[in-house]
């Protein structure tokens, strides 16, 4: 137990400390200007001094991320059910979805900005676009991967389509849905930042951009740090959702 605690906590911590030490030494040894690479203490000072700004901008980016992600879930899940259960719909759209999944959706961001302006709407659209595909593709794949025997068993008992969906297909697809949601939330953060890069007057992406243009590199690094925390927090939210559904999920080793 004690050994596990050491390996689970101390080793990762030691890794972080080592990187920071190398960072400090590099800044000092090569005499790197702050504009190029600020030393960790300057980033830390910027984090503390500008914490209000980071929090308020971070809150905006978090909202964009989560709203867009929820929108992707709300639209993606029912569409996935429709595609998985209807042969014509599946034949029409599934190959298209797979093809579109490999298209870099952020490339559409400039056009979305033209269509929807620089407000929240365009960010939501970009986040939705990047988060939607992993959710719908993984959910549809999960629903279609329901073991044939379980479906036959349900049919042999004259189960209704609703019973089959709720008691067999949906629980069988849940691990796939969780996997899709985890990919989607990671992409959602990226989508929100890209949206802010391209046209926005607020959010961490905007702050990062403006800090860089004003050569305030410590603030840019602080924004980067805040963005990482935000990404981890958003991912942890999905993780918490996964743990809430744990009774319906197979154990971790069997899942992948």
């Amino acid at each position: 137990m004690r050994l596990r605690l050491i390996s689970q906590l101390l080793y990762p911590l030691a890794g972080v400390v080592l990187i920071i030490v190398v960072w400090i030494l590099a800044c000092w040894f090569f005499n790197i200007p702050t504009v190029v690479l600020p030393s960790p203490d300057k980033v830390l000072r910027s984090l503390v001094i500008r914490s209000d700004l980071l929090m308020s901008e971070g809150w905006i980016t978090l909202k964009e991320t989560l709203y867009g992600f929820v929108l992707a879930l709300v639209v993606g899940l029912p569409l996935a059910v429709a595609i998985a259960n209807s042969r014509p719909l599946n034949l029409m759209f599934y190959p298209l979805l797979i093809a579109l999944q490999s298209v870099p959706k952020v490339a559409l961001a400039p056009m979305i900005l033209v269509w929807l302006g620089t407000g929240l709407e365009s960010k939501l659209a970009i986040v939705w676009l990047v988060a939607f595909f992993p959710i719908i593709v993984d959910t549809a794949a999960g629903l279609r991967a329901t073991p044939k025997e379980l479906l036959e068993l349900a049919h042999s008992l004259n189960a209704s389509p609703l019973q089959i969906f709720l008691k067999v297909q949906l629980p069988a697809a849940l691990p796939f849905i969780v996997t899709g949601a985890k990919v989607a939330i990671t992409l959602a953060v990226i989508g929100a930042v890209i949206g802010e890069f391209i046209g926005s007057s607020e959010g961490l992406g905007f702050l990062l951009l403006s800090a860089t243009s004003q050569l305030d590199t410590p603030l840019a690094f602080a924004a980067l740090f805040a963005l990482s925390v935000l990404g981890i927090f958003a991912y942890a939210l999905v993780g918490a959702g996964e743990r809430m559904m744990a009774p319906w999920l197979p154990p971790a080793p069997a899942r992948h």
């Binding site: 025997e149 036959e152 042999s156 004259n158 019973q163 629980p171 197979p250």
Partner: protein
Amino acid sequence: MAFGVIRNVRKVFQVDELGSTALEPVVALDDASFQFDEGDLVALLGPSGCGKTTLLRIVGGLIAKSAGSVAIDGREITRPMGDYGFVFQAPSLMPWRNVLDNVLFPMEILRKNDAAARRHALELLDLVGLTAFLSARPHQLSGGMQQRVALCRALIHRPRLLLMDEPFGALDELTRMDMNDLLLRIRHETRASVLFVTHSISEAVYLSDKVVVFSKRPARVAKEIPVPLAYPRSQKVRFTAAFTNAERIASEALGVIAPAAEEAAAP
């Protein structure tokens, strides 16, 4: 009239039923006819892929036959009747349910998941020796234990007919023998009729009142072999003359060995 009457059943899978790789229709079952009485345990024996599984699914109402008739207890089967039990080759348990809830699944579908159903589930799990594993998840059980859970699930709604598709085919021989004895005990207590698909000659003979031997695809009934052994049976019957004789007749029908008469005639 017999409880189960299977007459001239034929099944041709059309190209669109087979998926995109098939180029022409496949005759899975050419002409199958046999009868069985209520409470009989009938083994359907034949080489792999000979269509016996297809016949089992037709009897269960899961797939439509192309020609012929299947009547169970006077009812022509055209769709699932809801009162048959199914056991598949893989245990096919739901990984998100524990053992007890897996067994109760059919009762939920039939909207009869009450206290009586729960009592019956506990009885069945006791019968197969899994009382200590009620709240275990399937992945925590061995293959044989999982198949015992599947057996309980198939019996929970007191089916009149149990359809078993090579249920013990993936188990090691000793576990399989245990499961065979367990099945005979369960069958004795529940009085259910059983159709049991297998490709093991000795399993077919050991379990059944009657072995129906199928030829290679497209399958036809090659021979019906009554097994003249009284129940309850124990593993000792495997070493009796009647047992080995039935095994020999089945082997001949399958073409594994040449018929005795021909052997005698050969120089």
